[in-house]
Amino acid sequence: MYSSVKNVQILISLLKQHNIKYFVNSPGSRNTPLVHSIENDPDFTCFSIVDERSAAFFALGLSEALDEPVCVTCTAATATCNYAPAMKEAYERNIQLVALTADRERYELFQMKEQLINQVNMYNEFVKYAIDVPEVKNLDDELYANRIINEALLELNHNGKGPIQINYSVVDWGKFSVENIPKQRVISRIEKEEINSEELKKKLENKSRIIFYIGMDISKNDELTKLLNIVEKQYNCVVLCDNYSNIDGEHFINASVLGECITRNEIDKMIPDLVITIGTVFYSPLRNYLASKKYNFEHWHIAVDGVINDAFKKLTTVFECLPVEFLNAIQNESGNNSYQYYKQWKDRIDKVQYNNLGFSNFSVIKDFCNKVPENSIVHASVLNAIRISNYFGFKDSVKCYANVGADGIDGALSTFIGEANATDKLSFLLIGDLSFLYDLNSIDYVDKNNMRILVINNYAGAEFYKNFGLKMIPTLDKHVAARHHTKVKNAILSKNIEYLKAENQEELNAGLKKLVKKSDKPIILEVFTDANTDASTLKKFWSDNKIENLQGKIKKILKKVLSEKQVDKIKKLLKR
């Protein structure tokens, strides 16, 4: 019988599926749920050595002889410290030692309770990877535990062999009452040389709803665009991308706008049976919809460094290769896309209406996107600059950049200056006031005549007007939205920059006209909008474009009619 402790079950299932067979156990209570579960399991071979330091060295020798991973298990506290000498040697000699350190009640660490030391990543510089598996109480915990255990086990022989630490909480010893442990989702990593092209093609041919989801891609590879345009015609798929993927094709869809406009009822009907992801970050809440627990589809990720990006909590395979190498492997001349699935996405996108934008940051960005000429480059700063520009897109030959990775307010101006200095193409920066002023130290380097900066100055962080608003936080301007009275005009410390401003549509049209033309100097166009209007325009746009079913429509009406308190009460009642 196996332990009833859920994270122990997950661990055992994944150890089996990653073909790890050897254990050296040291006695202790905390690791008993694991030890007793595996000692009678014919898939594992166990050894018992009391002194954990000797046990870890025994395991090290065993692993060296077999050239296979060997697990060591011990109880909590100083028991785990005794693994340190062997972990160091294993790290320096590239030996696959798996330290399974059982841990206790995390919340009582250092609160006068014995046997509680900080075990998380305790071997620090002597492990390839260290994880801390929480007590599993719900599906979120389970998915997290599953993913990180997969990650750790995959790291044992990734880019060289070496030791890992899996620290896992055992708060309650549980019972040995489980006859069969559920098989967990295993994540596999397939390296370039291991790709079986024919097998992949067969799998893909059998799918009727494939999404190629292309996130931010720093490679900006034209070959990728070319191959995607070939492959998308050969399978029943749709290619979803955004400005920052820097790819274009007849059947590619920038679905970013749906992230905020689509409803759960709609997405229910558009669920794929396979998602193939390329790139690092998807700047759209669409990702969150697809990550819903109720959907069950396969996810393959293509990454040159082989890292695990479990964007939808359904990842099964990582292909460690360049995206073009993967696409080459799946090229299938005899295949044919019915475009049924594509049409479903296209029809929904086509229903989005851009009405009543007024004079807001939304309308300004719309006009800007439209005006940026062919063969330019664009850099967008954080939040609305990336978000709203993604709703419109640019001309196909325009290359787009943004610091989407960590998505911070800092450094957009400096990054843009670097980019504009690396090309003679017209280079545009779309930036908000806070982000611009944040990075003002680089203003002196705005000195090349291909540089064009559009600053939308609403004298505050408009994002906070959207997220909270004055109604929720009357003092919003004080600290949260950091309201100021600075005009960018006064912050330009050079006479070699042409300054333009726009406070209305007419001035904007004139400003944009100049902005996209050749000039001897860099140009800054400062456009003034109102933060409150900006936030309400955006929210109204989303609301107007939601296609609700009857239930949704009723909800919408109730929200309009009832007070917030009344809505909360009804929500509580329905939950009961």
Binding site: V50, A55, A65, I117
Partner: protein
């Protein structure tokens, strides 16, 4: 520099020095003389035991300084963790051959005071050390020191082994000097991996499921004594412990070995007949050799 450190600690009441493993023989004569004249000396081979020993002394208000080879720092983690909980101020001085070898991030959580000494001007370090003595927590001082890596010459022994071992046979040598051509496989164990060599060897022979020979100075058994008491020792276990006289003059070590059902023999000189008999014995065996091999 070592004298400066010790002088500073002595002024704060640290009067016990604990030498671990071979570190005493690594200390310069002038440093050693100063230590002999100013401190009470304790010798505890295993660094892990030394930290617990110091903890015991500190419980009775004897302030301790443990001197270790920096290679062995990992083995202090267990005792230092307990010391940290008990809020006692043990000083560990770790001597390193090279700055590159100093890796201490793993132990910072229980040794908040880590003083890395890099240059010759001691005044700045002195204030850090004094500050550390006032805190109720273990402290670590790392110091580059002229540590000699003692190598062993196995060439005469290899000539002997060439007559007995076959091509696929494996022999583990601890820190060998240049080795002669040989008919069998040689695996070297670096001195920085001196802890639990027998444990590691046992795991190895369990994995390869055939006998191999382990050849180490007998004193290393003192860093791994308890491993002889386990259930996985079988006829593939063949260990030669040389310089046995450095460990015990009497037969207590042999008795511990035999109590664990391992055949044991202590000899003064190894020859072909003895080696042949030992290697072909159908049971686990340890050969204790007095002197070099």
């Amino acid at each position: 520099m070592l004298i400066d450190i010790l002088e500073t600690l002595k002024a704060k009441g640290y009067i016990d020095i604990i030498y671990t493993f071979d570190i005493k023989s690594e200390i310069k004569e002038s440093d050693k003389e100063y230590i002999n004249n100013n401190f009470q000396i304790n010798n505890i081979k295993d660094v892990r035991s030394a930290t617990f020993y110091a903890l015991g002394k500190e419980n009775l208000h004897k302030k301790c300084i443990i001197i270790i080879n920096g290679d062995d720092l990992q083995s202090t983690l267990t005792g230092i963790t307990e010391t940290w909980f008990q809020k006692l101020n043990i000083f560990v001085i770790a001597l390193y051959k090279k700055y590159d070898d100093i890796k201490t991030d793993f132990i910072r959580r229980v040794m908040p005071n880590i003083i890395r000494i890099y240059d010759e001007d001691f005044s700045e370090y002195k204030s850090l050390i004094l500050k550390a003595t006032a805190q109720c927590t273990p402290s670590l001082i790392t110091l580059k020191y002229n540590i000699v890596d003692i190598k062993y010459d196995y060439n005469n022994f290899i000539k002997l082994l060439n007559k007995i071992l076959k091509k696929d046979d494996e022999v583990f040598f601890y820190n060998p000097n240049n080795v002669l051509n040989n008919n069998f496989n040689i695996k070297s164990i670096k001195s920085k991996y001196k802890y639990c060599i027998i444990s590691k060897y046992m795991g190895y022979i369990t994995g390869i499921k055939k006998k191999s020979l382990l050849c180490i100075p007998a004193k290393l058994l003192l860093l791994d004594l308890n491993i002889l008491n386990n259930r996985y020792i079988n006829e593939n276990f063949k260990v030669i412990l040389f310089n046995a006289e450095e460990v015990k003059e009497d037969d207590t070590l042999e008795k511990w070995i035999e109590n664990n059902n391992i055949k044991s023999k202590c000899i003064n000189k190894i020859d072909e007949d003895v080696l042949n008999e030992f290697w072909n014995l159908e049971e686990s065996a340890i050969l204790l050799v007095k002197g070099e091999i």
